[in-house]
C-alpha cells in the first residue's frame, strides 16, 4: 500500500486526562451501527460534545495515559478516523485500542511528553522517522520511540486484513 510520509502536520485537540475510555470516544448507544461516517457524528461526544463541530480533516488528538481503555469496540477508531482525525498521540494506550488502531492502518503514537508541550489549536509537525513532535506554534518539542517495524508494516499495508492478503499473495 502506501509508505508513511516522513512528516505530518496538523492542528491539535488536547485531552490531557488519563483513562479516556471507549465509552467516551463513542458511546454504546451508537453501537447499533458501524458505518464510519455515521459514527463520526458522535466522536468524543461524552467527553467533549463540541469536538465534532471543531475537528477538521488532518487534525491530531493529543491525550494522556491509557487512552482508549475499556470496551474493545473498534468503533472508537472508526469514529475518530471518520471525524477526520489523522493521528492520536497519547502518553500511553490501552492495549486493545492500540491494536485496533494499527490493525486499521491508523496512526497511534505513544509520546509521554506530548500533552505537556501542546495546547488545543497549536499547529504540530510529527516526524515519524526521527520520533520527534514539533509544536510549530510555540517552538517546543517532544520525543517518542518511533513505531516498531511490525506496527509500521501493518499501517503501511493499510491494516491487518490487507497485510494478511499481501502475505497470502506472496505465498509466505
Amino acid at each position: 500500500m502506501a509508505a508513511l510520509p516522513d512528516t505530518l502536520t496538523g492542528y491539535a485537540h488536547v485531552y490531557e486526562r488519563a483513562h479516556i475510555n471507549t465509552d467516551e470516544i463513542i458511546p454504546a448507544r451508537y453501537l447499533n451501527v458501524h458505518e464510519e461516517a455515521e459514527l463520526a457524528k458522535y466522536a468524543m461526544e461524552d467527553i467533549d460534545g463540541d469536538f465534532v463541530k471543531r475537528v477538521m480533516p488532518g487534525d491530531f488528538v493529543i491525550a494522556g495515559d491509557n487512552f482508549g481503555c475499556g470496551s474493545s469496540r473498534e468503533h472508537a477508531v472508526w469514529a475518530l478516523r471518520g471525524a477526520g482525525v489523522k493521528v492520536v498521540i497519547a502518553r500511553s494506550y490501552a492495549r486493545i485500542f492500540f491494536r485496533n488502531a494499527i490493525n486499521n492502518g491508523f496512526l497511534a503514537i505513544e509520546c509521554p511528553e506530548a500533552v505537556e508541550v501542546v495546547a488545543t489549536g497549536d499547529h504540530l509537525e510529527l516526524d515519524l522517522a526521527a520520533g520527534r513532535l514539533r509544536n510549530l506554534t510555540n517552538g517546543r518539542e517532544a520525543v517518542f520511540v518511533p513505531l516498531s517495524d511490525f506496527a509500521r508494516e501493518l499501517i503501511e499495508d493499510g491494516g491487518l486484513l490487507p497485510h494478511i492478503q499481501k502475505k497470502a499473495q506472496a505465498g509466505s
Partner: protein
C-alpha cells in the same frame, strides 16, 4: 529459565518450543466467540475483501447478547445479519434468543471452553474464560475478521503478573471484592499489556462461578488476559460439560513474573468502587451511604447462579426500598431456568425486582435499565467509567451481588453482612 502457563499456551499454538514476553507470535485460535455488536462489522470487512468462507465453522460459537431481544430497529438488523451469516457459514454452535446468554458466560457453561485453549472474541471481557486455564483475550472487529478468515492471530507475548491468593474469604466477602481490591491497588492500567495469573490456597475454596468474576475483570486493570491453573474444581466443571480432550499447562517453578502481589483473603471486607473508575474501590466501612436510584444484579461479571443465590438469600422476605429500582439479569438462559426451578425468580419478584432475560443490556448503557443524568446505580457489573450505563452524568458504583442486594433493600449503599446472619 521457566515459562508461565500463558507463555506455554502461546508457544504451543505458534509452533514454538518457547516464547519470551515482548515477542510477536502468530498463534492458532481454538475458539472464536461471536456476538451481535462486533461481528457484523467483521463480516462486512471480509465480504469487502471477497473472503466468503470462515476458516473452520466448527471452531466458532455464535450468540447474540448485547442488544437482544432486539432493542431497536438498527440492533434488530445486527442480530439478523449475525443469524443469516451463521446459517450461510454452517456454524452449528449457535444460541438463539430463548437459548442465548452473555457470550463469556454461555461459552464455558455449555462446555465450549477447555483448558489450554486460545480463545478470542470481539469483546474486552473475553478474559473471563481464562479461569479455566485458557488464554482468552478480547479483540476488535478487524482481529476478529482475521481470526475468522485464517484461524490465526498475531499476539505480542505478554509478561505475567502473579497474584497469590492466600487463606479463605471471610463471611460476606466474595470474589468480586477480591478483584475490586486488586484493581484498587494496581489501578486501571496496572496490568496493561500483561497476563494476570492467579494461584494460591485461596482458589481452593472458590467455585468456577466465583473464579470467572476475577478473570472477567482483568481488562479493568488493563490486562491482556486473566488466567488460573487447572485444578480439581475446574476439571470437574469441564468434565461435567464435555467429553472433548484437553491439555493443561502449568507455570514452571522458575517462570519469570514482572510483578508479584500477595493477597491475604481473610483481611478483606466488602468493597465498593466509587464513580467513575473500577480502581476507586473502598472498604464498605469507608463508603458514605449514598442513596441509589437503581441496583443492577447481572452481567458477565456477576450474573451466574451462585450470584443470584446470594442475592436471593438476602432479598428473601424483604422489599426493595421505596425510591429504588432493582433489576436482576441472569447471564444465560440456563441460569434463568435454574433460578426459576430454585424459586429465586419468585423471591426477586416478591421483593419488587424486575427480572430480565439474559442480555448485556444496561451494563453498557444499551437498554433494560439505562441511567439518566445525575442518577445513581450500584451495579454488580465490571466498569463504571463515565457514560458506561447511560448518561455521562450518571454515577455508577461497583460491588458484589450481596452488597447490591442489601443496598436494594435499604436504598443506600449497605454492608451485606448483617443481612446474612
Amino acid at each position: 529459565m521457566g515459562m508461565t502457563m500463558t507463555e506455554k499456551i502461546l508457544a504451543a499454538h505458534s509452533g514454538r518450543d518457547r516464547v519470551t514476553p515482548g515477542e510477536i507470535v502468530n498463534a492458532k485460535i481454538d475458539l472464536i466467540v461471536a456476538h451481535d455488536v462486533t461481528t457484523p462489522p467483521a463480516v462486512a470487512m471480509l465480504r469487502k475483501l471477497g473472503i466468503n468462507k470462515v476458516f473452520d465453522p466448527s471452531k466458532i460459537l455464535v450468540t447474540p447478547d448485547h442488544f437482544v431481544p432486539n432493542k431497536d430497529i438498527k440492533s434488530a438488523e445486527l442480530a439478523k445479519q449475525l443469524r443469516e451469516w451463521r446459517i450461510e457459514q454452517g456454524i452449528e454452535r449457535y444460541y438463539e434468543v430463548g437459548n442465548h446468554g452473555i457470550c463469556h458466560a454461555i461459552a464455558p457453561e455449555q462446555g465450549h471452553v477447555l483448558p489450554g485453549m486460545t480463545v478470542v472474541c470481539g469483546d474486552s471481557h473475553t478474559t473471563t474464560m481464562g479461569a479455566l486455564g485458557t488464554f482468552a483475550t478480547g479483540v476488535g472487529s478487524t482481529d476478529l475478521a482475521a481470526a475468522l478468515a485464517t484461524g490465526e492471530l498475531w499476539f505480542k507475548v505478554p509478561d505475567s503478573m502473579l497474584f497469590e491468593l492466600n487463606g479463605t474469604l471471610p463471611f460476606g466477602v466474595y470474589s468480586k471484592d477480591i478483584i475490586l481490591y486488586i484493581i484498587s491497588k494496581i489501578g486501571v492500567d496496572g496490568a496493561r499489556y500483561r497476563a494476570m495469573e492467579y494461584r494460591g490456597s485461596g482458589l481452593k475454596s472458590m467455585s468456577m462461578e466465583a473464579r470467572f468474576t476475577i478473570t472477567n475483570m482483568a481488562i479493568e486493570a488493563g490486562g491482556k488476559s486473566g488466567i488460573m491453573p487447572v485444578d480439581a474444581i475446574s476439571e470437574e466443571y469441564v468434565q461435567a460439560r464435555t467429553k472433548e480432550p484437553y491439555k493443561c499447562y502449568e507455570s514452571d517453578e522458575d517462570a519469570v513474573y514482572s510483578e508479584r502481589m500477595t493477597i491475604e483473603l481473610d483481611q478483606l471486607e466488602p468493597i465498593v468502587a466509587l464513580p467513575s473508575l473500577p480502581s476507586n474501590g473502598r472498604f464498605i466501612g469507608e463508603v458514605e451511604r449514598v442513596k441509589m436510584d437503581q441496583v443492577y444484579i447481572g452481567s458477565c461479571t456477576n450474573g451466574r447462579i451462585e450470584d443470584l443465590r446470594i442475592a436471593a438469600q438476602i432479598l428473601k422476605g424483604n422489599k426493595v426500598a421505596n425510591g429504588t429500582r432493582a433489576i436482576v439479569v441472569p447471564a444465560t438462559t440456563e441460569i434463568w431456568k435454574t433460578a426459576m426451578r430454585e424459586g429465586l425468580l419468585e423471591i426477586f419478584a416478591d421483593a419488587g425486582c424486575v427480572v430480565s432475560t439474559a442480555t448485556c443490556g444496561a451494563c453498557l448503557g444499551g437498554f433494560m435499565g439505562v441511567l439518566g443524568a445525575e442518577e445513581t446505580c450500584l451495579s454488580t457489573t465490571n466498569r463504571n467509567f463515565v457514560g458506561r450505563m447511560g448518561h455521562p452524568r450518571a454515577k455508577v458504583y461497583l460491588a458484589s451481588p450481596a452488597t447490591a442486594a442489601a443496598t436494594a433493600i435499604t436504598g443506600t449503599i449497605t454492608d451485606p453482612r448483617p443481612f446474612l446472619q
